[in-house]
Amino acid sequence: MEQVIIDTANHIAGHAARAARVKVVAAYPITPQTTIVEKIADFVESGEMDAEYIRVESEHSAMVACIGAAATGVRTFTATSAHGLALMHETLHWASGSRLPIVMAVVNRAMGAPWSIWPDLADSLSQRDTGWIQFYCADSQEVFDTIIQAYKLCEDEKVFLPAMVCLEGFILSHTYSPAKIPDQEKIDAYLPPYRCGWALDVDHPYSHANLVSPEWYMEFRYMIQEAMNNAKQIIPQIDKEYGKLFGLQHGGLIEKYKCEDAELILLTMGTIGSEAKLTVDKMRREGQKVGSARIRVYRPFPAEEIVKLAENSQMLATIDRHISFGMEGFLASETKAALFNRADRPPLAGFIAGLGGRDVTAETIEKIAKKSLKYATDGKVENDPIWVDLKE
């Protein structure tokens, strides 16, 4: 039955894999993801999880083992971070191209060189083109619920794509906090066993992923784009339905906080989105109409919702925990892209904050908000990304 547990977000992710009745887990350890796979190992060895845990010799093999298992018709799970995810890059393409509903927890961590074990979103964001759906979580409850929702979404025959559920290393992954674990029967009813009509089967011998000539390749790629667009419609429905069943909701594509009358909207991702609510409340108490929109789903990118959001605001500020060298943060770029053809688009200031685990406090967010409001009143916005708390 339903219980509330207090544990780290990583362990709660392990609970989610167990609750989703995953059948094959293939994973390779990497800080800060390790405690997920350790938790799963305990569940499997203790019999709490009827699954097969393949202790592979690399992240590349972790994803390919999941591909093999998913192609043979079972639900699969893995987890990784930073360089593990980068090593998977080739296999990420293979998984989405094979339309396999693999769910992976990505415990965000900065990319080297030099080594850094602390969080930022460079690792998962640089995989945005691989055909994987990407969720970004702000708290442990959302990690649990999003993993369950991700299976519901990915196994929908209008989607059949893999998904990453991202959570920032340490500030979320290793943070101990309460989370509700819904009743298992209710989860089983919500998430029936995975069926794949075209799994590897000696009675229906297909070859998977043969060479495709120029004659058909483009059509197969278009179908992945279609699936992503379908996902954009289905994700809010799933979140709503999950909310009705379990009393837990996380905003669908974008978690909007006091945006309706906001002059300035802060566009954020992950835990920064959670702390931004404190800033919004404080500044509203001081009479400044600020709102926060946490982009929960980065792929498919919620362009239409961002356009709607921007309609009644005078100023936007994006906070990227990431930099695409030589340009700006992705959230800034793609938000601008979503608004480009809108004549009434508000100005947008792009901020870079929290790289390599640097703390982003409510005060830091307040500085960002105030700077943005000043841009709005001056009617002049910095084009280049603004690096927050950057040492001289």
Binding site: G97, S98, R99, F160, W198, P205, Y206, S207, H208, A209, N210, V212, W216, E219, F220, Y222, M223
Partner: protein, 94 residues
């Protein structure tokens, strides 16, 4: 599973190929020499059958070989391996 997709809607979600004889068409057109069997010399040892890369030789009831010229690529392994030289390679005329 539609084996001859014409439109996008005929396609499976991901490329799933159906087992097909002649996935590369009638490969018999590739050869410049063709094996011919002199059944009087054939001892039905089935070596030609086992060594054919293209499964273009079938083993009849009496174990004698039958060559499917639609698919034989004319590599000549059967002729080379036949212990009684019952198989000869002849240049493909028009």
């Amino acid at each position: 599973m539609i084996k001859e997709p014409k439109k996008r809607k005929d396609l499976p979600l991901t490329p799933l190929s159906c087992p097909t004889v002649g996935s590369m068409g009638k490969t018999g057109s590739w050869r410049t020499f063709r094996p011919e069997v002199d059944y009087s010399k054939c001892t039905k040892c089935t070596l030609c059958w086992i060594d054919c890369p293209d499964a273009a030789i079938t083993r009849r009831e009496d174990d004698s070989p039958e060559i499917d010229y639609d698919y034989c690529k004319g590599c000549g392994i059967c002729a080379n391996e036949c212990p009684t030289k019952a198989i000869r390679m002849k240049r493909e005329e028009d």
